[in-house]
């Protein structure tokens, strides 16, 4: 579904991604883990061109989206993204947060868009907060809204950029539950996270990134029980006491 070839990204003189080749298949749950500064988030943000790659090609459903002639806005509609800091629009109600893009981009009527939004809010147990503003919600609630806001566009792949890193510990579970149920529905997911339990339980594949490269690719079982590379062993030793 997403094909990455020779992806590099430099910020000034700082080479953050040093050549990534990867393929993400439909329905796959890919979990990206690794130490901070290893390029995980940059890799994820390159997939929907929030960061412009320095070189390399990213093909999404057969179209090279790094080609300046391709309409990136169209492709982004099919790639939902969830951010570490939620990034809900604070000046809009929850409902409006969710209906803005479908109404502007999919040309849905207000009632159509709202019906879909309420359905999704019900699914994450927040239908009663539709009229609230983001500042009235807890962190976990905000992140659940952020996930369903992306789902309102009916994306084919969801990108998660450390979705639980900014949450209080007691709220991590509710967000992970939503992500698990999404995974069970067969959504294609790329998740950057530090939640090793989630990686083990939900991931089809683990990408271990360190120093701007994918240092190890493995199944969760193999990765957590018998990591192949020394870097992954060191990392896991520090993370899993």
């Amino acid at each position: 579904m997403i094909d990455v070839k020779g992806l590099t990204k430099a910020f000034g003189d700082n080479l953050v991604l040093k050549g990534i080749d990867e393929h993400i298949y439909p329905g796959e749950k890919v979990v990206v883990i690794g130490p901070s500064g290893g390029g995980k988030s940059t890799f994820l943000r390159c997939l929907n061109l929030l960061e412009t790659p320095t070189s390399g090609a990213i093909t999404f459903k057969g179209t090279d989206i790094t080609d300046p002639k391709s309409d990136i806005n169209k492709h982004r509609q099919k790639m939902g993204m969830v951010f570490q800091h939620f990034n809900l629009f604070p000046h809009m109600t929850i409902l409006r947060n969710m209906t803005l893009a479908p109404m502007k981009l999919l040309h849905k009527s207000k009632s159509e868009a709202e019906e879909k939004a309420i359905q999704l809010l019900e699914r994450v147990g927040l239908a009663d907060r539709a009229g609230s503003y983001p500042s009235q919600l807890s962190g976990g609630q905000k992140q659940r809204v952020a996930i369903v806001r992306a789902l309102c566009m009916e994306p084919e792949v969801m990108l998660f950029d450390e979705p639980t890193s900014a949450l209080d510990p007691e709220m991590v579970g509710e967000v992970l539950d939503v992500m698990k149920s999404l995974a069970n529905d067969g959504m294609t997911m790329v998740v950057v996270t530090h939640e090793m339990g989630f990686a083990k339980e939900v991931g089809d594949r683990i990408l271990f990134m360190d120093g701007g490269v994918i240092a190890e690719r493995n199944t969760p079982e193999a990765f957590f029980d018998h990591p192949q590379t020394e870097r992954a062993q060191n990392f896991l030793a520090k993370v899993l006491m």
Partner: protein, 253 residues
Amino acid sequence: MEQLYETLSAIPVADQTFWQNFFLKFYRAWFYQDRWLSYFEGLLTTIEVTAAALAIGVALGVVVAIVRTAYDQRRPGTHNPLLAFVNFIFKIYVTVIRGTPMMVQLMIMGFVIFASSREYTLVGALTLGINSGAYVSEIIRGGLMSLDPGQAEAGRSLGLSYIQTMWHIVIPQAFKAILPALGNEFIVLLKDTSLISVISGKEMVYYARAIVSRTYEAMFPYIITAVMYLIMVMGFSYLQSILERRLRASDRR
């Protein structure tokens, strides 16, 4: 009242009581020969000049702010020579306008650049607008830069275009943030219209000075002018506070 004025003005100044004198001076500054009409004529010009300068200032300010923000937030490594050039011109504009006194700008515009023009009020409005644009652009730029870049990223990640993201997400939030500063700038602009009297713009101070030159009595015309400005600014501040309260709806917890 006219009769009272006639009676009192017959009394020699040395024999007038304090209140008689007070009444006479105020009468000459306001009622005599319907002078109060000229204050309101001046007020009308003040409002017209403020409105025209505001329109010019906001239009200029928005354009300058968007270009300068786009330049400052351009992706590292990309180079757009046109953007860089326009940004450079706008930077000079802001530097020159902010670096020179309003009064001097008015004199240069009125007596040098438009020396042959008789449209003093129009030249005054234009100068004020150009001046205001520099300040407004800095205020707007501050608002755009202060917003969390994550907001624009969230908009773009949903598939919204740059323009849609600016219009629905960035500008409404930036506007709310800069409203107090914009209101402040508007008040300064309103009061700065008094300066166009130096190039013979016919606003309130111009008429007040004309009355002073006829009555040789400065106190009342200038105090009346001050009170009229004060009332306008207070009225505007009230409107601004209503608007701010309405925009604060999303802050309630």
